[in-house]
Symmetry: C2
DNA sequence: ACATCTGGTAAGTCATGACTTACGGTAAGC
DNA sequence: GCTTACCGTAAGTCATGACTTACCAGATGT
């Protein structure tokens, strides 16, 4: 059921920007906030959501917290989407056949 | 940029239920609403969002509107996710190598 | 010890969006 | 034609969540 959290997390544009930025490599909170039009606390709150969704992991390094992408959440979302895709396409073709048979 | 709409659309639980229900085959609005804890107009509004995201297509059939899954939106979302996955995993491994080299 | 840099949390504001009921409009049945 | 299904749209309510500023705590450096 956790793919739901991933979907909710990635639905927000700001959170997606943070996530895309993290794709280029790990980063502390302050650096992330510099490239965004929102305050640092806002970034902190977004990172919390991303972390709870399993999309991001946190590593304490002295006074700083380094955030990086966690493949776990992304993997679960991908598996759900792939399964959905297969089912939907299967029924789609089945429907198409029924349609042609009707003719 | 339309994968963003798909994400936003699928982030809502009710909308996801509708979408999952549609996976089993096309359906008119009224039937969809029967299996849900919300009113029929609510379902109508959700279907509008799903349609604008390219996740669902509509077919007028007499007085009824049949809704079915549109592979287009799902495909775009999948492509985005796959691309993201590849990039993220690539950088992830590069980071891991850097980590081992440091030791 | 003190100032500084790090960043998470609290509290409050404000917009968005998920619902409701009420209505209107088109197609099918009698 | 008139009623009865089907469904979309309008308008209004209400909760949620994305932001802000203010504050607090731990690590670093002098």
């Amino acid at each position: 059921m956790t793919y739901a959290n991933s979907l909710a997390a990635l639905a927000d544009p700001t959170r997606r920007k943070i996530f895309e930025r993290l794709k280029r490599g790990p980063s502390p909170v302050g650096v992330l906030a510099e490239g965004l039009p929102v305050s640092r606390p806002a970034v902190s709150q977004h990172l919390k959501v991303l972390k709870e969704a399993g999309l991001v992991s946190e590593e304490q390094e002295g006074a700083r917290r380094i955030y990086r992408i966690d493949p776990e959440g992304l993997g679960q979302l991908r598996r759900w989407l792939d399964g959905f895709w297969d089912d939907a396409l299967g029924n789609f073709k089945a429907e198409a056949e029924k349609g042609t048979k009707k003719k």
